[in-house]
């Protein structure tokens, strides 16, 4: 018998590929939710490994808040060009223009919460029955309890007490009309696993993940990119800093961290030594201790 080296990244990868293929096999109209962040970029690589030389059996869906970092949009468009797959964009601006949601006011206004409506509308419009997302269980305590196949009702709601038991490697994707399933192939990965995988696979990322000089302000003790999307006034002092972003989200709610990390190796070293978890840099999680639980119940990713 030949010996083979099957390390933890290989195992996580094989599990994720298995899950992606289950989505292909079990659903009529799946979609891959693509945010432009490292987790969904990892999903794209995993989908390539699951389905090449064939096409993906699903389109990529980007919920565009209109407040994205330009670097993310550029990355997205170049990537779509490279992989030759279909991209559907759901626009939060459109939801605002149609009067379906109202822009938040005040200093901490963000479009993060508005995304949920656009997401649910996009799911309804294209009749997606499964949406693949890059959420991980190590991110947050509500996520730690979510299944890999997570059934949502017509209103996108997650009910933690009504979750289906998920046994062995068998995923039950049976749903009623109107319901859909959120599927999380990298549930069992940690932030460090994702970075180690990106390094191993030599995956290109949007430039904002790496150290760069940027105009920032301090808001609630955190560094925020100065931008027209942030409601700023005279009290906000703009200054230049060497920073990077640990997650890619709406410009109005994603905080930067001071960093000199210019290579993936630097980032891995930084994270290994870091004492702040990734979602700690997301202001939207700080509102209440149960913030994520509430958002998920309301249909959030």
């Amino acid at each position: 018998m030949s010996t083979y080296n099957f390390d933890y990244l290989d195992e996580l990868e094989a599990e994720a590929i298995h899950i992606l293929r289950e989505v292909a096999g079990q659903f009529e109209k799946p979609a891959l939710l693509f945010s432009g962040g490292k987790d969904s970029i990892t999903l794209v690589r995993l989908a390539e490994k699951a389905f090449r030389p064939g096409k993906f059996p699903f389109p990529l869906v980007h919920i565009d808040t209109g407040h994205n970092f330009q670097e993310t949009i550029d990355y997205r468009d170049q990537m779509i060009e490279r992989i030759g797959e279909r991209l559907i964009v759901g626009s939060v601006q459109e939801s605002i223009d149609q009067g379906k949601v109202v822009e938040q006011k005040g200093k901490n206004a963000s479009r993060n919460a508005l995304q949920t409506v656009t997401l649910l509308d996009t799911i309804a419009k294209y009749e997606f029955d499964a949406c693949i997302g890059g959420a991980r269980r190590d991110e947050e305590k509500a996520r730690a309890k979510e299944r890999i196949f997570s059934v949502r009702d017509e209103f996108g709601q997650w009910d933690p007490k009504r979750q289906r038991p998920e046994l062995w490697n068998i995923y039950n994707g049976k749903i009623h009309k109107g319901e859909n399933v959120r599927v999380f192939p990298i549930s069992n990965w940690t932030e460090l696993d994702v970075w180690n995988y990106i390094r191993r696979e030599n995956i290109e990322l949007p430039s904002i993940y790496f150290s760069h000089e940027r105009e920032v302000i301090t808001r609630n003790g955190q560094l925020m990119a100065a931008s027209p999307f942030l409601n700023m006034d005279d009290e906000d002092i703009v200054f230049r800093k060497q920073v990077r972003f640990r997650t890619v989200g709406d410009m109005s709610c994603t905080a930067a961290v001071e960093s000199e990390a210019i290579l993936i190796d630097d980032i891995i070293t930084e994270i290994s030594a870091s004492k702040i978890s990734e979602r700690g840099a997301r202001m939207d999680d700080k509102v209440s201790e149960a913030a994520m639980e509430d958002r998920k119940k309301g249909g959030y990713f």
Binding site: K49, W168, N172, K275, S277
Partner: protein
Amino acid sequence: MNILKFFTAGSVDDGKSTLIGRLLYDTDSILADQLEALQSSNRKNDDGTIDLAILTDGLRAEREQGITIDVAYKYFQTDKRKFIIADTPGHIQYTRNMVTGASTANLAIILIDARNGVVEQTIRHSYLVSLLGIKHIVVCINKMDMVDYSQEVYNSIIEKYKVLAQQLKLVDVNYIPVSALKGDNIVQNSERMDWYEGESLLHFLEKVDTDSLEKSTLARMPVQWVIRPQTEALHDYRGYAGRVLSGTFNLNDKVTVLPSGASSVVEKIEFFDQTPDAAHAGQSVIIHLKDDVDISRGDTIVNASALPQESKLIEADLCWMDGRALDTSITYLIQHNSKLTKCKISEILHKVDINTLEKHSAEEFKLNDIGRVIVKTADALAFDLYDDNRANGSAILVDSRTNLTVGALMFRAAVE
């Protein structure tokens, strides 16, 4: 570095959440902002230290009630291994969650409160571990600090547990005296129990040799998806995508495709841009066969030298997981890897009282009931016995009225 998946069985009172909290805390797996949230929480131990149990309960509903209502997954790693913990509640009404957590674990930690010894709940947890076929067991005798770190107490509990282990035919059972609250023998060996000569829990978890499915002679790959690009350049391309459940497929191996029974030979194995000579247990690959056989999702490719069983009538252990009781008059769906077909539970052979392990006949099967049944399937399943091959010997039942997963099945025999 590989992954060890383990689960912990014990109730809130046994200090299970504290044990997990301690493993995370002492391996430096808690980040500053999480720790800050902990410190600002008003739940503290009597001596004012952080209540580590808070690390493992997630949802507000649980915090309000002070209970764990579901399976929570936790992650940590050392330089030797990555660990995935399935934290499952130990209350009797949550048997279904324990079965869920245990189904993917290679190792189980069973917690015993040193003050109470082997109790009804220990029997229940140990039975579930044996039912789910978990090979490695660590019995942690916890709260040793409450019994003055007494070797006599520890020994007498072990003696009692050994009787149970024998009764349940548990194979690899290990014992460690610990105090999760004080950190004794969790990461570091405790100076307060110098009579204990074994390893700390973490050191044990780091080096325990988990079963390698690769060693199995049963090569199995359920086909999940057929890849057919149908482009000009790849006009005749036809690859069968799936994850190898067990065993190894080598180039030129003779294989059989089930249920058709068609024979062929492995012509090529693909993994993205690589074309390896073999596909091993755990790997997600694409297999190409020499002959043009009709294969679709739900079929299984197996090595011709070790065929699985094939039957429409299977004896199985069933754990019922739904609030609505089993109805032997209706048709359910059964999902066995990528195969989905209809079935009925044609007979309830017996039910097991998981507190006493006594078997008795039963008419009904309700939430958290466990017992032996006969499953009658519409299409024959190509399966192995659960004890020989967990991944190909298990299935779930789905109620097509609600689409909920209502039962877990472990195949024990083909009915002649």
